[in-house]
Each structure stands twice: as structure tokens, then as C-alpha cells.
Symmetry: C2
Subunit: 220 residues, 2 copies
Amino acid sequence: MTEAGSHPLNPRKKPRQTRAKVTLDAIFEATIQLLLSDGLHRLTTTRVAERAGVSVGTMYQYFPHKLSLIYALNERYLEALAEKIEATCQRHKGAPVQTMVDALIDTYWDAKTERPEVTRALYRSVAELDNEELIEAFAKRVDAATLSMFDTAPQEAFADLPQVNLALLTVIFGTVRNAFERNLGGEAERALRGELKLMCKAYLTTAARAQRKQIIETAE
Amino acid sequence: MTEAGSHPLNPRKKPRQTRAKVTLDAIFEATIQLLLSDGLHRLTTTRVAERAGVSVGTMYQYFPHKLSLIYALNERYLEALAEKIEATCQRHKGAPVQTMVDALIDTYWDAKTERPEVTRALYRSVAELDNEELIEAFAKRVDAATLSMFDTAPQEAFADLPQVNLALLTVIFGTVRNAFERNLGGEAERALRGELKLMCKAYLTTAARAQRKQIIETAE
DNA sequence: TCATAATATGAAGGATCATTCAGTTTGAGG
DNA sequence: CCTCAAACTGAATGATCCTTCATATTATGA
């Protein structure tokens, strides 16, 4: 679907000199701006180049085609996001699960809220991509990070931690996405974040309780 | 963003004769098929017409431009979905909240799972639209339906039902969307649905408990 | 049956764009 | 300072595609 093209999505070459790095940054920034102001279907290689202050040809030195530019942009964004999440997970190893969940939600939500318009634009642009690999890679990475964090939670045991972990991530990420899609006002958004935290924590409590019961039953 | 065009998104005219209704259906079905097989950026007015077995000109009798076709398609889909949800809400008035939540989640998830590929294709296509109105109208309608359902829940009181309602909907819809985006296997998907139900019910329980406490405090 | 409205046709116009490549400029290392 | 590779240029190419409109076909109901 959406066809990755017979050409690879990967960049053509990496910048070796400083000016090339500057150029690349300019291209990415221009892409974001155009995505913001005009949307993906108005985004033109010529316009990107123009806005970035380079020529079209330059773009094609780094990207084999237009989609690969969008792809790289999202890759970059997800990379940064994954790093933030991993850092948070590291920082909260051994903490109570409640703290973990709050931190996870805050990290993710804050990251998305930092530049809300960009977030929205990227959510949109990624839909046009052959994004399975991208999403999958990101998901695997985050799965692993949070899993290893929850694994260190004291006084908690879950029958199926991976399942609980997957559920939490899907719910959190999905909720945030939907919140952005609905463009809730700042107040409603803040309230929603609180409810989401409540919900996740309530879930963890009952999930742990169920596990305790299961252990008891097994012992009998 | 994405520009609705200076032209309106609304259809040009409604079919009066039977053959016109047939034509319209064929056009919609062809659109879905092309969305499925080639993705939005390969979807061409000519190709849609061809697949539908009509001429391009015919399409333009009903839709002022290509985007309005996509728009109408999503409108149609959301209309059907909203109806299902409203029916479920009607059917469960007065039931215990646990039952309500289960029914709501099942209705939504089942509807999305009925034709998973179509769901995915529409999720993608709607991203290219100026979809705020569309989403907002759907959201308002569903909000109202579920709100009036939860309002009839016996033995439950929530400090801020609208807020709880919004939270539930955002979480449920977001989770389902994310589950589709990640293309989880059927097994993982089923498990996730169960966890989502658990989570929502755990949330409702603690939300109601908090309210009870609040009432007591107020009474003192 | 006939007049009129509804529907359908599809070639042609007009515009936009992605992508290339032959040639130029700039930087780095010796 | 000189050489070579890296980086950059942008007009030209070739293709795709949306949309229109003058014309043709089909239904309706009087």
C-alpha cells in the first residue's frame, strides 16, 4: 500500500562536510514548515528546496524521492521520542509503579505537546507512508524500555507482564493521538491527562490484585 | 491545512433516479477498493471511474472534486458507525456500568474489525482531509449517546460525568486506532481488548469510589 | 407518445510536479 | 597553492492527472 516505490526509502548518502549537515537541517525544517502551512499534498520538492534555500538537485543528493524525505523526517522524530522515553524508563527503575506510569505518561504527552502543530502534521504525514517498519521499530524499542522498567517495580507481580505492558502502551499512545486529533482545548487536555493516569493506575492495581489471587489459588 | 479548496466539500447533487444511486454506490465501492490496493496518492479520478464502470464526467456530477469524494466516503462510514454506537447505548440504558463499558468497547471494536483493511484505509485517507468538522460532528454525536447511557447507570455517581465520559471515549477510540496501526496479530488483539475492558472498569470503580468519598466529605 | 429533466460520456485543455544531469562552485588535504 | 572529491545548481524532460463541456443517452410523467 501507498507503495514504497521500487526505490529504497533510505537516504542516498550522508553528509560529510559541515555545510551539508546545515543543508540537511534546512531541508528538514523547510519540510516541517510546509507540512504545517500547506499539508502533505501541497508539499512540493521545489517548494521544499526553495524554502530551505537550496536547489532541488541538492535534495535529490540526499533523498532518492519525495517520500523518502517524509520518511526520514518521521524517523528522526521517532528517534528523538524513543530516546526520551528510554531516558525516563532508566530514571524510574525501582520506583513504585504509580510513579512509573505517571512519568511515562508525562514524558510522552509533554513530548507531543511541545510543538503541537508539528505533532499533528507528522501524525498526518506518516499516514501516507509505508510505515509499518517505522512504527514497528519504534514500538519494539519502547516496548523493551518500559518492560524492563516495570520489571523492576517493587512489591508488584503481574501474571503476564508483557501483556500488561503492551496494553499500557497502546492505551497511552492511542489516547494521546486521539486527544490531538480532537484538538481539545488546553483545559480539557489537561483534565484528560489526569484521567488517563487514574485509569492506568487503577488498571495496574487490579491487575496486580488478580495476580496475587492467582498465586494463592495455585498454592492451594 | 490540507486546504478544503475554495470549493465546498459537499456533494454537488443527490441522486434522484435509481440508476444514479447505483452509480454512486459503485463509485464509493471503487474508491474503497482503490484505497485498499493502491493507497490515496495513487487514487485517480480516472481510475475510480474506470473501476466503477462509469466515466469521469459522471463522478463530477456528484462531487465537485476528488477530495470531496474521500470526504463523503468517510462521512458515510462515520454515519454508520455512529448509528451502531447509538443503538448500543439505547439498548444498555439502565444496565450496570460494567455491562455498558463492555458493550461499548465490543461495538466499536467489532465495527472496526469487520473489514479491517477498509478500516485501515479509511484511517489513512482521513488524514489527508480537512477533517475537523467531520471528526467533531462524530465526536459530539457519540459523546451525547454515551453520556445519556451512563447517566442511567444505577448505583453510580461521578463527580464529573462528562469528564469521565470524554476520558472513556478518547481512551477507547485511541486504543483501537493504535491497535490497528500496529497491526497486532488476532491473538494479541483479542487479549488487548480484554485488558482495555479491565482498565476501563477499574477506572470507573475508582472514579465512583472517589465520588462517594467526596459526597461524604461534603456532608461533614 | 413527446417534452423535459436527469444522467452519462470521454476527448481535450491546462496545470502541476517529480526527477535528471551536465556543468559549476566550494571545501579539504597534501 | 593545487587537486580531487564533495556539494550544489536549475533548466529541461516527461509524465501524470484534475477538471470541463459539448454532446449523447435514458427515464419520467403528462
